[in-house]
Symmetry: C2
Subunit: 403 residues, 2 copies
């Protein structure tokens, strides 16, 4: 175990009817003017946005709206939100939605208190120190952004100092210890009962990925963190199967929702070096092909990444296979055999919940792999990850495995 700081001061209010409490919770942070950020579609139809706004009004808030946030959220809506905050002197930002909405709200909360361009934080030119308070009404369990200090935003066009476009979209992740953690998150599983199967499955993969990226680590002696991560993974596989079979099962939805938060609030990473290679590899795909859902992209990438690294460093993958996928080693089997059997079971689980396993399944017919590899290493450096460090030669092989 390495030294670490763990600080997760989000208040989670979990269960039925809880979204009615948003006004009361927001009130604790003072202020009278709230910006409500949402996507539209299901968050509006389910009544979640309406109930949140009514609760805020009842608590004495004036509310302003930023609607229509799309998956793989982009910088233009963040800039629009920052303008709204400044124009209306907003005190608190309320995100009603899933990861894209919450990540946009976080970027606005940060950018609104900063004189320069908010993208400075994402590309590492500035360090986040303060942000407006963010509250969440969660409607999609997947990203874990309701409990994390992270935010992922796509910059549509990279420009040089003269304002000329020099590259296509770049999707970057910002990670803070606590500045970007929501102050509170209201989590009513009922709001997720009508999520389509596809979106539910994408969420299941995304939350598992958040654990994998912390679990596959060379830092030794992390038995406590390992066992928590493995326990969560087992619970997600079990409740994931259940929710796909019975989409209107409140209890399965509740378990999946809470698992998604714990998967990404940092508890599965305590004391060790993490490895976010699969996320990085996927981010390039969904940045260039924005119709690719992040979770679906991960469903294809993760088993391919695992197979590639298991050939070089099978230990932790074999542990995953035994402890999570219930692989019982055959007599005389070596770790790589155990690892591969675990990966096969994982891939089969992803397929069973309707997730793709390659570019074709993602709807990407003729991917430009050299361009993906080049963009990946331009954004993330010559070598990515550390469980097995990957250069362009390695990441090309992983992308090729998805053909």
């Amino acid at each position: 175990m390495d030294n670490f700081v763990y600080y997760a001061p989000t208040k989670f209010v979990f269960g039925r009817y809880t979204e009615k409490r948003i006004g009361e919770l927001a009130k604790e942070f003072g202020g009278t003017r709230a910006l409500v950020v949402y996507g539209g579609g299901s968050a509006v139809r389910s009544g979640a946005v309406g109930r949140a706004v009514r609760s805020l009004h009842a608590a004495g808030f004036d509310t302003f709206n930023l609607e229509g946030i799309q998956p793989n959220p982009a910088d233009d809506r963040v800039r629009e939100g920052i303008e709204l905050v400044r124009m209306h002197d907003i005190d608190i930002i309320i995100a009603v939605g899933g990861g894209s909405v919450i990540d946009t709200a976080k970027a606005i909360a940060l950018g609104a208190l900063y004189d320069g361009d908010f993208w400075d934080f994402y590309c590492g030119k500035a360090t986040p120190e303060r942000a407006l308070p963010v509250g969440v009404v969660l409607t999609i369990p997947a990203a874990g952004s309701e409990g994390s200090g992270n935010s992922v935003i796509t910059l549509r066009e990279v420009r040089n100092e003269d304002g000329e476009v020099v590259s296509g979209p770049v999707k970057l992740s910002l990670r803070t210890e606590s500045v970007l953690r929501p102050k509170f998150a209201i989590m009513n599983p009922e709001l997720t009962l009508t999520l389509p199967a596809w979106q539910t499955a994408c969420g299941i993969v995304d939350m598992m990925a958040h654990i994998f990226e912390r679990y596959f680590s060379n830092t030794p002696d992390c038995e406590v963190t390992d066992r928590v991560a493995e326990g969560l993974l087992k619970a997600i596989v079990c409740e994931g199967r259940r929710v796909m079979e019975s989409p209107d099962d409140y209890q399965a939805r509740a378990n999946i929702m809470w698992a998604a938060t714990l998967a990404h609030n940092g508890i599965c990473g305590t004391g060790r070096r993490e490895d976010w290679s699969s996320h990085f590899i996927e981010h390039e795909i969904s940045a260039v092909y924005p119709d690719v859902a992040h979770g679906a992209g991960l469903a294809a990438v993760i088993p391919a990444w695992m197979e590639y690294v298991a050939a070089k460093n099978p230990g932790k993958v074999a542990q995953f296979a035994e402890r999570v996928m219930d692989v019982v080693p055959a007599p005389g089997s070596v770790p790589v055999d155990i690892a591969l059997e675990g990966i096969a079971r994982l891939r089969s689980f992803f397929l069973n919940i309707g997730m793709p396993s390659d570019f074709a399944g993602l709807g990407v017919i003729d991917p430009d792999i050299p361009a993906l590899v080049e963009a990946l290493h331009m954004h993330k450096g010559e070598s990515i990850g550390n469980y097995v460090p990957l250069t362009a030669r390695d990441t090309k092989a992983i992308y090729m495995a998805l053909m």
Copy 2:
């Protein structure tokens, strides 16, 4: 899963050398005057108290001391601390020690801002709403008080309104959502390397008990919370064996230390009704026989409680047996058989780490069981617990099983 609120805003600073950061961390809460609470003995000899005080001085604090806090901490030292806080206009309380020291610091932090007697909070006459900030330098992993909103204090003598003593000692637990959670906890496993085997083992039992009391629940559909709890228990058994064999193994100490925090910060109880019967049954023993260490008392009580309830409601005990103690059900075996085999393995684990299994092992030669039963139900009501509700007849049988 039931509705729940989970709010755990303690900042954990974990690892080597971290106690030097206490001044800097305390400074974040403003103020210039700190009361340092500790037990003496090992916390002083190890240099932990000295380093904390030097760090506080370097950060500009004046420090005042309350030393010599004993196990099973009592009300008299709390009152002394409250007087010190008022006399010296203290801004923050720093606990350097384990559960007894931290619980005393919490009681002082609460009582110092309250006009009446601090015991009002423990006996339910008053509701905690505010407290001075408490910071912790942890030296004993066991109680989990560094991350919990709880505090357990013993009132030496219960008096009536005329000031006459009407009963002997009573040990009561106060639980808050967040008022009593420490603001920060510094956790350097090096400070625990010299803990005696007995104290280490008592801590292992105590942290497991904190999980059991949340795990044995009739609330259905808590797969996520169950799997986290089971993972932690497996890690504690593994690292507990390791630390008893190699007391100076930093990594084993680190795992045990972090497990103790997660065992009691509430994560293992999310979404379900808990059952603190074993703690209640033990508290009566260590209140009347103060030489009984809490963890040792629990090592005797827990398997006896488990056997008693397994006969009436074996389901969850059998699940524990299979998932934590690796019991493989024999063909045709019924849940109670599986449960009993799991309990046998747990008892054997406790014995192997040097823990007692009965009153004699606890050094209580001629226990007054009727008095224990009477006191228990006087303090906790006619029926305690809910996994299997226990009346005086049941708790008498459990105490008798320790003869």
